[in-house]
Symmetry: C2
Subunit: 497 residues, 2 copies
């Protein structure tokens, strides 16, 4: 115990999760650690959900996190009906369902915006921050666990802090974090990162001792799922992407060791990172959000020298592997607050290559990342906008069809727009690659239809496009532009009957 | 002559505009100075247009500029049918018409992207840069004229350079420019601006002497129009905006002297800047793109201490006024390359307040800045995305209706999306202010309909929204979402018959 909680005065703040949960009142804004889904508090939210169910008081909170968190937080509280407002990102089924049925007000934000919005007072007062830590130092500093997210800004701006000290996480994580908090304008200075390997801050979070109202012990692991094995479509997309990067090197537009890589989470991202292990690229670096199992492969294979992110999101197997070789991995992984991992300033300076997944893309290169058929929230924009907008090259991948072919992922007009034609440079499906750089909308349409669309939809899109393209810049028949989605909702397929 | 062209070896490069224009061949990419519309070359493009008309050869070029340019460039070349491809922004009628009829391929780009795209080779080779200068120094350095735009990157990356030395501009402009060019990743460093007043570069552009193929003399002024007097709607929008800023100060979310201001160009922007002259704000600063006449008012009134931009876009009267007090204005105005004036890094660090104009806004806060009815290019996105995406507070203004009330500027779904719901924070019409920060889509819709919509459309939008909002996150009837635009195109009004 005293190994994990070294500040003696804090020992008397240790209490049960239920006691700590009793500090949470109806209407409060609760801001927690946790990023995609690592390092989130588990015991206190579980206790809170239990208390709500038992008391039946209908207590509701506003819940702010770093990004997605596990079932113990989003799931338990959503099922208890305890979430009134949620931001900035989620991936949990029950939480999503309550968002889509209108019960939870969801604010789908760029991940890089959240700390500033809290700091600037744009989201109101934060009542309590609940932070998962691996330890508390003699000085009372918090050593965060497997993620950083918005934790530093939440701790600084919350009125009270609850710390969950999770003994499941190895204490050797200490020293992996690099915590830098920008000042508010007009006093903000350049973020002094000029390479993914740069450390610019502290390895701990300072907190005023009288703000710490409770310390709760925990032993619950992060609930990170293993990825399913890579399917043929994902493999083909990964091959296309690596082929594209090889060609950029050949053309002299990228250095031989590329530039820092950012990759979204998911099976395609997993396939891409897996593909890099087998590629001839070396001396690679990663400047991304999430350090996944596949990053360990890249480090082990000697392909990646440094990986910077905001979370260590490892499957149980990955975590075991990490722990068995922790010294080596620690020297090559840096965890940063999400306002730094996703900083437009740093992303543009480093020249990050962004690789994210689209739900759908339209013929002019607009991307929908969030709302299926424009109306059903999937997860949220996450960091895809932070990276896409500032990348050296911005890449989106999507299988050309979804739902066993009944949906074309390439449509006349996106039903929701998260990334505009101005920001999207490369579209990759299992069919091929469309390079949109320097193309007019009409040329983009041609490149996308020729290279990315599935054969079942190619003629239909060509017909739509040819009907429109004659003598225009961008053109749509506004009564037809969303008809593919409408047809799907009515008939269950976008195909012509 | 030797006062303006101090490098003796350059005197024998002086030639007529027609001789210089003969260097331009079919298929070339020509990149010019010029920004909204100041400091663009005039004599050579005029001569080129004349040559093309005379020779009838159908010569076509790709034309890259900083932003919009005057009739002598975009107008003359568009009318001569000489533009094959145009980027990144334009506002000239004949050029726009040829874009909208599909004759010119227009690439509508974020202004901050252009220099990097050229530097990275994403837009192919630049054959000739044509740069307007006020002088050439003894060392052969170029002293740019009334704008900087992409000039430094164009000069560095072009194979050949033509310089138009324009004696109409006062030579006292020398010293106003601050020229800083970032290195390519992975060698890029922080841009060391921490205040709008910081000078971080040179006052001249270096060029290899053997790249300079021609020097042409010019005496043509920039064709900048005076703004019409401020109408009632614009004044009401400006009042609403200033009221909003005052309230932010009162709530402690902005300092008393605000933060650096960015303002688009146009009558509303003009009214806003005019309103600031009469406001109680003082010690203001500007970190924007365009230094307009109204900025001179703000400097004269002692309200603004420093104005940083990429162009000095003054009406003939404004230019006269500028020249009469040039020493004073020079000490308070800095001209920067557009990759610095529009730098995401600097904008977010300084905490710029962005104020831009929307063509239309939808109930969920998405903004269309470019394409009327989704299909007719107006001007382009310009710098609005660079600022909006990284602003401390991002504000969009639009009159609630257009075309004498037959168009509602607030619609169910934007017909083209340039700024997504994730980026847009404040909507202002003459009706009022909608503050979207921290709101879910449904709450945004309510705030926008209640505060910003014209009375003629309020019930219609409420009906659309109420039909949709029941138990959802974002909802649309996809067969109705664009029906307002469709109706307008069919009947000439969005109103119900």
């Amino acid at each position: 115990m005293t190994e994990r909680i070294q500040k003696k005065e804090y020992l008397n703040k240790i209490m049960t999760a239920m006691e700590a949960a009793s500090l949470i009142k109806d209407g409060m804004t609760i801001a927690t650690s946790g990023f995609t889904p690592a390092g989130y508090p588990k015991e206190v939210p579980k206790a809170l959900a239990e208390r709500i169910k038992r008391e039946g008081t209908g207590l509701k909170i506003n819940l702010f996190t770093g990004a997605s968190v596990g079932d113990e937080l989003d799931g338990e509280l959503a099922r208890a009906g305890a979430i009134k407002r949620r931001l900035p990102y989620q991936t949990q089924k029950d939480c999503r369902d309550k968002i889509n049925c209108g019960e939870i007000d969801y604010i789908d934000m760029h991940l890089s915006h959240v700390s500033d919005f809290v700091r600037y007072g744009f989201l109101g007062k934060v009542d309590i921050a609940i932070i998962e830590a691996i330890a508390i130092t003699e000085e009372g500093y918090i050593i965060p666990s497997t993620s950083l997210g918005n934790t530093p800004a939440f701790v600084e701006n919350a009125e009270a802090v609850i710390i969950e000290v999770n003994t499941r996480h190895p204490k050797e994580l200490q020293g992996m974090h690099d915590i830098y908090q920008p000042l508010k304008p007009p006093n903000r200075k350049p973020i002094p990162i000029i390479s993914p390997k740069d450390r610019i801050g502290d390895t701990f979070i300072k907190v005023k001792p009288d703000k710490v109202k409770a310390i709760v012990l925990s032993d619950i692991p992060d609930s990170v799922k293993s990825f399913p094995s890579i399917d043929e479509t994902s493999q083909q997309m990964a091959d296309n992407l690596i082929g594209f990067l090889e060609n950029e090197v050949k053309k002299g537009r990228l250095p031989e060791n590329l530039l820092p890589l950012q990759s979204g989470v998911g099976s395609v991202a997993n396939a891409v990172l897996g593909g890099l292990v087998k590629s001839k690229f070396c001396n690679l670096s990663i400047y991304s959000e999430v350090i996944q199992d596949s990053v360990l492969d890249l480090i082990d294979s000697g392909k990646v020298n440094i990986a910077s992110g905001s979370s260590l999101t490892l499957s149980p197997k990955g975590m075991e592997r990490f722990c068995n070789n922790i010294k080596e991995y620690k020297s090559k992984i840096i965890l940063r607050p999400q306002e730094i991992s996703n900083s437009p300033e740093v992303i543009r300076r480093l020249g990050v290559i962004s690789m994210n997944t689209a739900i759908e893309v339209d013929i002019y290169g607009n991307v929908n990342s969030t709302n299926i058929m424009g109306t059903k929230m999937m997860n949220g924009i996450g960091g895809s906008g932070d990276f896409t907008r500032n990348a050296f090259i911005s890449i989106f991948t999507t299988p050309s069809t979804a739902k066993a072919g009944s949906i074309s992922s390439i449509v006349p007009l996106v039903s929701h727009c998260d990334h505009t034609e101005h920001d999207v440079q490369i579209i990759i499906t299992e069919q091929g690659v469309a390079d949109l750089r320097g193309l007019s909308p009409k040329e983009k349409a041609k490149a996308i239809i020729d290279n990315c669309v599935h054969s079942s939809y190619k003629d239909m899109l060509r017909e739509y496009f040819n009907k429109q393209m004659n003598k225009c810049h961008i053109s749509h028949r506004l009564d037809e532009a969303l008809s593919w989605h409408y047809k799907f909702l009515q008939t269950g397929t976008m195909k012509n009957s």
